[in-house]
């Protein structure tokens, strides 16, 4: 396995954390992982994304030009990365904010009502967790849901630890929202 994943969304949607969380979970399960945030151009606001590689062998290049998986939490992100996704790739997108899904037919598009499910879990801020949940179901090789839940305490800063119950709920809701696992 060598999954190249892009997480993308607004700054503030917890994109970087999402990537980090998945990495730690996979690392704890013995996989090779890497994570590079796109750290903006000394610019404030705008979109954020990070490139994550999860692999069973050493990772030569941590860069992700053509992701195999993309998690898009808002429309600009979807627009930016849809074309870059490799054929057969998986696109998980936040259908709470994105009305029209991707145009391409050679990819697997999975809409997730991330905002709604996050609210349901207890906070609209947990949309990133919902998306991760969906990702874990869509591709079961990346990491187990339990591993991700366990990794929360490592990934989240101390002052946000109190949100972890909500986060776990959101992860589960996202996981369950996807009907069939692809891998």
């Amino acid at each position: 396995m060598n999954e190249k994943i892009i997480f993308a969304g607004f700054g503030g949607q917890g994109i970087i954390l999402a990537g980090k969380l998945v990495c730690i979970a996979a690392m704890n399960e013995g996989k090779y992982v890497s994570h590079i945030p796109s750290y903006g151009a000394e610019m404030r606001g705008g979109t954020a994304n990070c490139a994550v590689v999860i692999a069973t062998e050493e990772i030569p290049s941590p860069m992700v030009f053509n992701p195999t998986v993309c998690v898009a939490l808002n429309l600009p992100s979807l627009k930016k990365f849809e074309s870059r996704l490799s054929a057969g790739g998986v696109l998980i997108y936040n259908s709470s904010l994105i009305e029209n899904g991707p145009q391409r037919n050679d990819i697997v598009a999975i809409p997730v009502k991330a905002n709604e499910l996050a609210e349901q879990a207890g906070s609209y801020k947990a949309a990133n967790m919902v998306a991760i949940g969906a990702l874990l179901k869509a591709n079961m090789q990346i990491a187990s849901l339990q591993a991700v839940k366990d990794a929360l305490s490592q990934a989240v800063s101390k002052r946000n630890l109190s949100f972890n119950d909500i986060n776990k709920k959101a992860l589960t809701l996202g996981f369950e929202s996807v009907k069939t696992a692809l891998h």
Partner: protein
């Protein structure tokens, strides 16, 4: 008292709420909806209570607000 109305460009609004807080007439509020950038934007409540003080426009960091004032003009007709 003067009257008028603010015209808010919701595309430019970043949802900072400064206009809402500065409005002496309390006629502005944040919308439940979000704009393209994903943020709730400011709305005029259309109450007609705007006094055209322009405070909202003066403090808006996004130049998102224009203000109209109802002014009397000589009826030359």
């Amino acid at each position: 008292m003067a009257s008028g109305r603010p015209l808010i460009d919701k595309k430019l609004c970043k949802g900072c709420e400064l206009c809402v807080n500065v409005c002496p007439q309390k006629v502005l509020a944040m919308s439940e909806q979000t704009n393209e950038m994903g943020v709730p934007f400011a709305r005029y409540d259309d109450s007609g209570n705007c006094n055209a003080c322009t405070f909202c426009a003066m403090i808006c960091p996004e130049y998102a607000i224009q203000v109209f004032k109802n002014q009397e003009v000589l009826n030359k007709g």
